[in-house]
Amino acid sequence: MARDAGAWSEIFELHYRSVFAFVRYRLRGAEEAEDIASQVFEVAYSHAERFDYRGVPIQAWLIGIARNLCRDHVKKLGRRGIDAELDETMGPVEDDAAVTVDLRRDLSLAMRRLTEDQQEVLSLRFLLDRSVEETARLMNRSEDAVKNLQRRALAAMQRALADVNYPGAVKQ
């Protein structure tokens, strides 16, 4: 099972979207998110023998890998002194797409101002639609701690969005 290519293709099909969602707004753009999400499956395959199936959902394991890869990636960018601005290599967009892209860019900018725990709780709760109970399990915290972290993360997000001029947010 550990190296069954067919099973690994299935795992990819089942979990790619979730992994992409988890990393997307921590990174600079969709291409970077695709790159990191792809690496998650490669690392998982390479380290399959370390995975203990008993009681641990495979998604939790993949998200743990994604968390580490994001952390390393952001550190690496910082060490290289790479500007954290968003990748706009695809060029400007036409007017009717501008609102969507602005929100996407603003969310990315805002998310990267949060702590890693805050990013994680927002990703799990609002991008992956995980319940408080599931989020608590994935983050190895109590449900009360997740609710508290969720509130602080939303408050930080609200401030960050206001800073990057998202019109729906109110600076407090």
């Binding site: 290519a5 009360d144 609710k147 939303l154 947010a169």
Partner: protein, 425 residues
């Protein structure tokens, strides 16, 4: 747990601020819910991005699996020329150390060989097909035959296509036509130009339903870098080199070769695909401009035709009198199609049905076409829904454009694609 945490959780679940919240709490909760709403809005865009990037990531992961120890070649495949490494190859190489770390043990070796052995034979850009071809999609693609082998009733062709070397299988009921007639698949030889209409398989091969053959060529296909279009690029124009339509007819995708040397995987409105197919039996070769359209926020774009596909001359002749089941088909003048292969195209009004056979009144008379389970039916501007056209009788009286091939036994037109138009006046 603090009271405000609890109130916030209730508000997230119910979508409303709990009535017991004080005025100060209500103000705080309203701000917090604004942030949550922004995330949920962003989630829709993010999901579209995930879908748009998934084919590229899948191809990369499949190549990674195939590259693991034990994924060895079992037979040689002719490759015309070594392509330049694409962006995926560079990305993959950049993470080679990471990808291979700790991968010394290869348990389940045989499964890897069985599933990915053939993929390992392909060149760097050959897994580009995996970026574009999703299982069960109807596909139109053109290319040059590099090898052709037979195994019982099945013929397998290695086709050098815009997405690399693609394996195409021809079964006994695959319609094969040349410039003039239905022909036997055994006549296909290396160097032939083929236009394939078929269905993508799980391994990114294509099960051909219709194959149009044209004269041999020595021309090498241009190798391009593939990019998934997730944001509108200003003034993006190019030539359509591949078309796919999902099984239920709800999604379409094209590969557009741009003058800048890139090739863009573009998810398009189905209406745009229907328009291309109404004008020609194949969308391939059409010059288009990519526009925003109504669904641009989900990375689905519109197309504006700037020059139609050159292969639009192939038509079928009406049924001979007293033999309605044996509609002959006239092959086009090859020069009219610019020497390129083309499919059979029928336009007219559906006047009746008997089982899978539909009568179509064309400008030149009545023609019988056969619809198969694999035939893709598009609702076009018919006013019908996809559920409606599940009932074959619902299309009687409608204008229709049929693209397909010829049954080698009966000479009857077999429909691969049916685009239904409005009720005939």
């Amino acid at each position: 747990m603090s009271r405000i945490d609890d109130l916030l959780q209730q508000a997230i679940v119910t979508g409303a601020i709990p009535p017991e919240a004080t005025e100060a709490e209500r103000a705080e909760l309203a701000g917090l819910l604004g942030g949550a709403a922004a995330l949920r809005t962003g989630r829709r865009d993010m999901e579209a991005e995930a879908d748009a990037t998934m084919p590229i990531a899948r191809a990369r992961f499949e190549r990674f699996l195939a590259a693991q120890p034990g994924a060895v070649a079992s037979r040689p495949v002719t490759v015309a020329s070594r392509p330049h490494p694409g962006i995926l190859a560079r990305v993959f190489r950049a993470h080679r150390g990471l990808a291979l770390s700790g991968a010394a043990v290869a348990i389940g070796l045989l499964a890897v060989v069985a599933l990915f052995g053939s993929q390992a034979l392909l060149s760097n850009t050959d897994t580009a097909s995996a970026q574009v071809l999703s299982a069960d999609d109807y596909v139109q693609v053109q290319g040059v035959v590099r090898s052709s082998t037979t195994n019982g009733d099945q013929r397998t062709v290695a086709l050098d296509s815009p997405v690399g070397l693609v394996q195409v299988t021809l079964a006994s009921d695959t319609s094969v036509v040349d410039d003039q007639n239905a022909v036997d698949a055994s006549t296909i030889k290396p160097g032939d130009q083929l236009l394939i209409g078929g269905v993508a398989l799980n391994n990114h091969a294509i099960a051909a339903h219709t194959v149009a053959v044209s004269q041999p060529t020595n021309a090498a296909l241009r190798r391009v870098k593939l990019k998934a279009l997730t944001k509108l690029l200003p003034n993006l124009e190019g030539k359509v080199s591949l078309l796919t339509i999902s099984k239920d007819g709800s999604k379409a995708r094209v590969l557009i070769d741009a003058p800048n040397g890139n090739s863009y995987i573009v998810n398009i409105d189905v209406a745009a695909a229907e328009e291309l197919l109404r004008l020609s039996s194949t969308a391939l070769g059409a010059q288009v401009r990519v526009n925003a359209g109504a669904n641009v926020k989900t990375a689905i774009f519109a197309l504006a035709l700037t020059s139609p596909a050159p292969t639009s001359a192939r038509t079928a002749t009406p049924d001979a009198p007293r033999s309605p089941a044996s509609a002959g088909a006239k092959r086009p003048d090859a020069s009219a199609a610019g020497g390129k292969p083309s499919f059979v195209s029928v336009k007219g009004v559906i006047t009746g049905r008997a089982g899978p056979l539909f009568q179509i009144e064309t400008r030149d008379g009545v023609l019988t076409i056969q619809v198969r389970a694999e035939t893709r039916r598009l609702v076009g501007n018919s006013g019908l829904t996809r559920a409606d056209i599940g009932n074959p009788d619902s299309v009687i009286g409608h204008l229709v454009t049929v693209t397909g091939g010829l049954d080698p036994k009966t000479g009857r037109v077999i429909a691969d694609l049916v685009v239904v138009g409005p009720k005939a006046p």
